[in-house]
Structures are given as C-alpha cells and as structure tokens.
C-alpha cells in the first residue's frame, strides 16, 4: 500500500478500538490483518476466517507452523480456546446470517454513501472478489482501512465510485493514514485526524464534503 510500517500499525491500532468484548470479527488481508495485534487478549473476541475457522489466534512461533492450519491468505495461524473448524459453506453461512459484528477490509475507492470498490481495476488487475462482497454486504459494521489517496495522489474517498462496486452503501467507517471518518446517513463525518495530519489537509485530500460536528480529536 505504500505506507510505512509505523503508519500501517497506527491505522490498525485505531481500528482495534472499534472492537468490543465478545465480538465476532473478520479481518481482511493487508493492514486489516495487523488489527489482531491490538485486540486485548482478555476481550474474548472470536476471529472468523472465510476458509473455516472461528477463534483464530496469532501466528505460531517459527518451527511450529502447520501447513493445514492457516488464515484465508494461506499464512499459518493458531487457535484460541473455544475455536472450531467448519467447511467454507458454513463460514459464509455465519456471514450471511449476520453473525459478524465487524468486518475490516481494504479498498480502492469508497464513496460518501458508503459504496466500496475493492476487487477490480478495469483493464489492469482483476483478482476477483473472493469473500469481500459477502462480508461487506452482511456484516453489522464494515470498517475500511486504506491510503487516503492513490499512487497518483487522487482521493480514494469520492462522491461516487468509478470502479465496479463490491457493495452499495456497505461501509460504516473509513480509517486512513490521515483521518477517521464515519459514514452516517450517506454523509462523511470527520471524527479524528491521525497524527501528524491536520483537518485542513484531510479536507483538501478528500474527494467529497466532510462534515465536522464536534471538536476533531487527534489520534497519536
């Protein structure tokens, strides 16, 4: 994503604050995966994976990896007490049934209405949607973690997505290296700026109007 490791962790650390005790959470690939590092161990949070685990734990120590125990990205993981395995159909039954409290995923574009585009760049890369459509459409809260701007410096938060959608009106919150933004009633509300960025900087680099209701806090 072109963000430094500290910035990536800052975003992940902020996202983890949204996670409450006992929640069922799915973390996507990339920065979302880092969120797991910041969920307190005593919260009883159950991490869900599309390949069929509820109760995924952290990475095993070197030498203790098991090729048949991995996350949806194919990387070795462990389990926490209370975990279970199931087939992929059941993994998505859990999603469609609305049992996921939070999904954290990456995106190419997010619109002010909460539309998300994250699986197709026409004429360039078409990786496929994987489980993103199911997750973004069916989770109670969808948090998007991404760069505030693309490689050319264009805003990724826009009035209307130009890329093919993953979900219509699915996102509830956007966290970037510059800001924490809520999407409420199809409007963007600036909640926090990320240190060391300013409100002016965020407004300027966002492609849709930002509402500022209360004092904007700075997240360190």
């Amino acid at each position: 994503m072109g963000l430094g490791i500290e910035t990536r962790h800052q975003i992940a650390r902020r996202a983890a604050l949204e996670i409450e005790r006992g929640m069922i959470v799915n973390l996507g690939i990339g920065i979302p995966t880092l969120v797991a590092d910041y969920i307190p161990g005593n919260y009883g949070v159950m991490l869900h994976t599309e390949n069929g685990i509820l109760g995924m734990g952290g990475s095993p120590p070197p030498g203790k990896e098991d090729g048949n125990l991995s996350n949806a990205g194919g990387y070795p993981v462990t389990l926490i007490p209370g975990a279970s395995y199931f087939d992929s159909a059941t993994a998505f039954g859990i999603i469609r049934r609305g049992l996921l409290d939070i999904t954290v995923l990456g995106a190419l574009e997010v619109s002010e209405q909460g539309d998300i585009a994250n699986w197709i760049v026409p004429g360039k890369r078409v990786p496929g949607m994987g489980g993103a459509i199911d997750l973004a459409q069916k989770s109670k809260k969808v948090i998007v973690l991404m760069n505030h701007s693309d490689k050319e410096g264009n805003p990724k938060i826009v009035k209307n997505c130009k890329l093919p959608l993953t979900v219509k009106r699915g996102a509830h919150m956007i966290i970037t290296e510059k800001a924490v933004i809520d999407i409420e009633n199809e409007k963007l509300v600036l909640r926090e700026v990320m240190y060391p960025h300013s409100v002016e900087e965020v407004v300027e680099s966002t492609g849709a109007p930002l509402e500022i209701r209360n004092e904007v806090m700075t997240f360190q």
Partner: protein, 241 residues
C-alpha cells in the same frame, strides 16, 4: 428383516493413483477442493499434469499460487475455463485471463461454496441476495420469496471432483485436517465421480462414525497421498530471510 453383519462393507475403494488417472479426460469439468492451495490434493493434481489432461473446465474456490494446488494446472495451461472467487494469488491466472487463454467466471466466495454444496445435495440451485447493486447481479434471474428478492444461482456439479482428507476408511468415510477442510466436504459431494487423496487409510470400522465429516457414500475412490510436494509461501519467505 435385514440380517446383521459384522463385516460391513468389505470392498475397498482404495485404488492406485494410476488407476485414478483413468477417470480424467480432456474437456472434463473438474472440481478441486482446497483454499489457497491448503487442502488441495497434491498427488491427483500431479497425475493430471503427467497424463497430459487438458482443456479442463475447472471449478475451485481460487487458483492457489502458481506452484501450489490447482495453481499448477493453470501454470501448465491445462485449464481453458474457470469458475472461481479469486485468482489474485496466482499472477499466471491473471495473465492468461488478460490474453484470452483462460475464460474466468467470478462468483462471490460464499455463493460459490453454496452452489457447490447445492449440487452435492441434489438441489437445483440456491436463492441469494449477495451481490445486489454490483455487477454480480448482471443477467441473473431474480425471484421474490417471502417479500424479499433473491438471485437464482443454479447448483454446480462436476464430471470429477478431487479432494484431500487427513483420514479415511476403506469405505471412503472422510475426516479432514484443521483448516484444510475448507471446500473439500462440499466438493466431495458434487462430483459425479469423487476421488479423495488421503493421508491415512484405515480399515472400515476403525473410524469413529461420530467424527466422520463426509459419508463414504459420496466418495467413489480413495488414493494414498504422499503429502504436499510444494513449499508454502510462508516457507519461501523464511528461506529468503
């Protein structure tokens, strides 16, 4: 009254991997179990390559990595049509899709899993609302049920399904290994011929019936696995550290 037998099914479904290869043919629809290559049957994939099977219409969750699982079939250019949810971890699949060598139909992961499950369960299809408002809904038949609108997604079956399991008995009852279960139980049910590659094969009666995940009735043949012959991505990263 049916007479009680303590023998059970004495006929073993175990065959050699060479005998299994006789069930593969050019142009077949092939379902492959696994997720990112985890839980894909390594020996059966290799024999498909060795026997020069081509023009495969493959149905799999994803295309693994270029050297892992069903990804090998892509790299070897044996697949001409593909149904999958994701090909992002296999750049070779992306390349072949761009240059027109590989026709790809993308289906949201949960919908794909359920279409396969429906095929295995003898259903005509499923009703699903995942993907409304996106290009997924394009060209889909819709139906209103209990005042909600759904897309009709036809069930999927295949000429041949290949899966991987940790344990089976000679009747083909399957037990999987941790997250290598993933799509395997679904794929196992949806093949007109299902071949399971198994790490440990035991005589019928040696598995706890309570622990069987896929009933052997869905499984036509079992072959002994020699384990994975590829390096996982995380192993390669460790090697280069």
């Amino acid at each position: 009254m049916v007479s009680q037998s303590t023998e059970g099914s004495s006929k073993t479904k175990q065959i050699s991997i060479e005998a299994a290869a006789a069930h593969f043919f050019n142009g077949m629809t092939l379902m492959v179990g696994g997720f990112g290559g985890v839980g894909a049957p390594p020996g059966l994939i290799n024999v498909l390559i060795d026997r020069q099977i081509k023009d495969i219409y493959m149905i799999s969750n994803d295309t693994g990595f270029p050297w892992i699982g069903p990804g090998k079939l892509i790299t070897e250019k044996r697949v001409s049509r593909l149904i999958a949810s994701h090909i992002g971890s296999n750049p070779e699949a992306g390349k072949q899709m761009q240059n027109g060598e590989l026709a790809v139909e993308f289906i949201p992961q949960g919908t794909l899993a359920e279409k396969i499950r429906a095929g295995g369960m003898g259903l005509g299809g499923i009703l699903v609302d995942v993907g409304f408002g996106t290009i997924v809904e394009k060209g889909k038949q819709t139906v209103e049920v209990q005042e909600k609108t759904f897309m009709v997604e036809p069930a999927l079956t295949a000429d041949v399904s290949i899966v991987y399991a940790k344990q089976s008995d000679t009747y083909g009852n399957l037990i999987y290994d941790k997250s290598a279960r993933n799509t395997n139980p679904l794929v196992a049910m949806a093949g007109n011929v299902t071949i399971a590659e198994v790490e440990e094969i035991v005589p019928a009666g040696q598995l706890d019936p309570e622990c069987v995940v896929t009933p052997g009735v869905f499984v036509d043949y079992i072959v002994q696995s020699k384990g994975v012959d590829w390096k996982w991505v995380w192993e390669l990263k460790q090697d280069t550290k």
